[in-house]
C-alpha cells in the first residue's frame, strides 16, 4: 500500500532563487504532518506546487498512487486534496454560506446546489461559523476568515487537507477551538499537513514533523526528535532549552 501523498524531488526556482529544492516526503492515511521552518523557507510555495497553483520546476507529486504533478488546481481538489491560504482569500461579496457551498459543489464529489448547501451548513456548525452564514464573507473578523478558509476546504470532503498557518493571528481561545476541530478531523480519518509557526501546537498535534530551511528539507521525524535536532535548533528554534518546553504536555489553547 503506497502513501496517501508522496512528494519526490520537488523543486521550484524563481530566477536564481531555489524556493523549493529537491524536497521529498510522504503523508500516510489519517496522519498529521507538521511542516515548519523560518520565514521564506519555501513552505507556502511547496503547498502551491502540490495543489497545482504553480507548476514545479522538477519533481513529482502522487496522491493515493495517482501522479497529479502539474494538474490544474480544480482537478487536484476533485481528487481529494484541499487547502487553505496563508493570506486569507474569502469570496468577499458572497455570503459565508455561499463561500462554503462553492467548496461543496465542486469538491471531491460533485454535488447539486441543495445538497451542497446542506453539507456547507453542517461544516459551518463544526467550525462554529453557523451564526454568520448569511453575512458577507468580507464582514468577518480575521479569525472568522481563517475559520472560513478551513470550512471551505473541508466542504470539498478531502482525504488530505493542507493548512497554511491557520492558527496565526488567533487568540488563545480561538486556537484551542481550532485544535479541537483538527483532532475531530483526524478521528474522522482526514490526513493533515499543517504549516505552523505556533510551535507548541505543531509539536503536540503532529505525528511527524518536516523542517524546511532555504527550500531544503533539513530534518524529519517525531516531534521530540526534531525539536532536539542540533541543525533545527540552530536554523529555527534558536534556544536549545526551548525544545524541552515545546514537547512537554500542554492543554489545548495554550499560548506559545
Amino acid at each position: 500500500m503506497s502513501a496517501l501523498l508522496e512528494v519526490t524531488g520537488l523543486c521550484k526556482h524563481f530566477g536564481g532563487l531555489r524556493a523549493v529544492d529537491e524536497v521529498s516526503f510522504t503523508v500516510e492515511e489519517g496522519e498529521i504532518l507538521g511542516l515548519i521552518g523560518p520565514n521564506g523557507a519555501g513552505k507556502s510555495t511547496l503547498f502551491n506546487l502540490i495543489t497545482g497553483v504553480m507548476p514545479p520546476s522538477g519533481g513529482r507529486v502522487r496522491l493515493a498512487g495517482t501522479d497529479i504533478t502539474g494538474w490544474p488546481p480544480y482537478r487536484v481538489v476533485r481528487s481529494g486534496l484541499a487547502r487553505t491560504h496563508q493570506i486569507v482569500r474569502p469570496l468577499n461579496d458572497m455570503t459565508v454560506l455561499d463561500n462554503c457551498t462553492v467548496g461543496a459543489c465542486f469538491g471531491s464529489e460533485t454535488l447539486g446546489l441543495s445538497q451542497a448547501r446542506r453539507v456547507a451548513g453542517e461544516i459551518l456548525e463544526l467550525v462554529a461559523l453557523a451564526d454568520c452564514r448569511h453575512r458577507l464573507a468580507s464582514s468577518l473578523t480575521i479569525a472568522g476568515k481563517k475559520r472560513l478558509e478551513v470550512a471551505r476546504a473541508l466542504c470539498a470532503r478531502p482525504k488530505l487537507l493542507l493548512l497554511d498557518e491557520v492558527l496565526a493571528g488567533l487568540n488563545p481561545t480561538e486556537v484551542g477551538r481550532m485544535i479541537q476541530v483538527f483532532r475531530a478531523l483526524r478521528k474522522g480519518g482526514i490526513a493533515i499537513v499543517m504549516i505552523e509557526h505556533l510551535m507548541q501546537a505543531v509539536m503536540n498535534l503532529s505525528d511527524r514533523v518536516v523542517v524546511l530551511n532555504f527550500g531544503r528539507k533539513i530534518a524529519e521525524g517525531r516531534p521530540h526528535e526534531v525539536a532536539t535536532d542540533a541543525g533545527v535548533v540552530e536554523a529555527y528554534l534558536g534556544d536549545p532549552h526551548i525544545a524541552a518546553r515545546l514537547t512537554g504536555p500542554v492543554s489545548d489553547g495554550a499560548t506559545p
Partner: protein, 320 residues
C-alpha cells in the same frame, strides 16, 4: 420556475407591458418598445459576463451583428423561415463564442476588455470583405421575404412579438443562471478567479460557457432586428457605440442583478428617446451616456437596483 416565486410575477408584468402596443394597435409605441426590448436583451446577456463573471466585454455587439448576418443570409440564400434562421443564428454564434472564449478568456482584466474591442474591429473588417455576405454593401432582403409572414405590416408585428419572446428568455436565462450551481461558480470567478479554481471550479470552461451563453440570445435578436430592417451592413451590425451603451445601461440599472439590467436598459431607452427629440441634445447622446456612466460608477456603484436593495433589503428577494 413556479408562480410561487416573485420573479415569475415580475416576468409576467414585464411581458404584459410589452404587449400593450399589440392590444392597442399602437405602432409608435411598438417601435419604442422594440428598441427597449433589444436593449434589455443586450444588457441582460452582457450581465452574464460583467455582472456575474466579472469580465468586461466591450464587444458584446459582435453577437448581435453576427447573428444578424447569419440570420439574413439563411433567409436570403437558404430560403429558411425567419424563426428557423434566428434559432440557427443563435446556435452558430453560441458555438463560435465557445471556441473564441476558450482562447481570449485566458486574458484578464483590461487585457480581456481590449481584446473584445479588437474582436469587433477584426470581425467587422472580415465581414466588410466577405463577398457571400455582400462585403461593404451588405445583405438586402427581397420584398418577398415578408410575404411568408403575411405581408410587411404583419411581419413587423411578428418580429416584435418574437423579440419580446427573446427578451423574456433573456430575463429567464439570467434568473436561472443566478440561482444555479453554474451561476455560483461564475460568482466565485468574479470574486477571485484563482481561489475559485482552488475550490474546484473548472474556470476556463465555465468562463467560456458564460461567454458562449451570453451570445446566443443577442444573436437571435440580431437576426430578428435586421430582418425587420431589411438590410444589414458592417457599420450598423458591429456598432461599438451600441456596445458601449449596453455597458452604460447595465451599470446604471445595477450589474449582477436580473431586474436591474432590464431596468437600466428600459430607462436608458426612454431617456434616449427624449434626448433625440430635443434639438439641443440630439448630437450629445454619447457625451451624456458617458457622463451617466461616470456618475453611476462614482456615486452609485451598485446601480439603481443596488441602491434600492440597500435602501430596502427585503426587496432583494422580490427583485433579484
Amino acid at each position: 420556475m413556479s408562480p410561487k416565486k416573485p420573479f415569475f410575477w415580475v416576468l409576467v408584468a414585464v411581458i404584459a407591458v410589452f404587449l400593450v402596443p399589440v392590444l392597442t394597435n399602437n405602432v409608435s409605441l411598438r417601435e419604442s418598445l422594440l428598441l427597449a426590448a433589444i436593449y434589455i436583451i443586450l444588457t441582460s446577456n452582457l450581465n452574464l459576463m460583467i455582472g456575474f463573471t466579472g469580465y468586461v466585454n466591450f464587444g458584446n455587439i459582435v453577437f448581435f451583428g453576427l447573428g444578424g448576418y447569419i440570420g439574413l443570409y439563411l433567409v436570403t440564400a437558404g430560403g429558411l423561415p425567419l424563426v428557423a434562421a434566428a434559432a440557427l443564428a443563435g446556435a452558430a454564434v453560441g458555438a463560435i463564442a465557445l471556441v473564441l472564449g476558450l482562447g481570449i478568456l485566458r486574458l484578464r482584466g483590461a487585457y480581456f476588455a481590449l481584446a473584445t474591442i479588437g474582436i469587433v474591429e477584426a470581425i467587422q473588417a472580415f465581414v466588410a470583405n466577405f463577398e457571400p455576405w455582400g462585403g461593404a454593401t451588405g445583405l438586402y432582403l427581397s420584398f418577398q421575404a415578408y410575404q411568408a409572414l403575411g405581408g410587411p405590416r404583419e411581419a413587423l408585428w411578428t418580429v416584435y412579438l418574437l423579440l419580446v419572446a427573446v427578451m423574456g428568455l433573456s430575463l429567464f436565462l439570467c434568473y436561472a443562471v443566478k440561482n444555479s450551481r453554474f451561476g455560483l461558480a461564475l460568482f466565485a470567478i468574479r470574486e477571485d478567479e484563482d481561489t475559485a479554481a482552488v475550490l474546484g471550479v473548472r474556470t476556463p470552461l465555465y468562463k467560456a460557457t458564460a461567454y458562449s451563453l451570453s451570445g446566443i440570445l443577442p444573436a437571435m435578436a440580431g437576426a430578428l432586428f435586421f430582418f425587420k430592417q431589411g438590410v444589414i451592413q458592417p457599420e450598423q451590425a458591429f456598432d461599438l457605440t451600441l456596445s458601449t451603451e449596453a455597458i452604460v445601461m447595465l451599470m446604471l440599472g445595477g450589474q449582477g442583478t436580473v431586474t436591474g439590467a432590464a431596468l437600466g436598459a428600459f430607462l436608458y431607452e426612454q431617456f434616449r428617446g427624449i434626448l433625440l427629440t430635443s434639438t439641443v441634445f440630439s448630437s450629445f447622446q454619447l457625451v451624456i451616456a458617458g457622463a451617466l456612466l461616470l456618475v453611476t460608477v462614482l456615486f452609485m456603484p451598485g446601480g439603481l437596483m443596488g441602491w434600492l436593495h440597500r435602501r430596502w433589503p427585503r426587496l432583494r428577494k422580490v427583485l433579484e
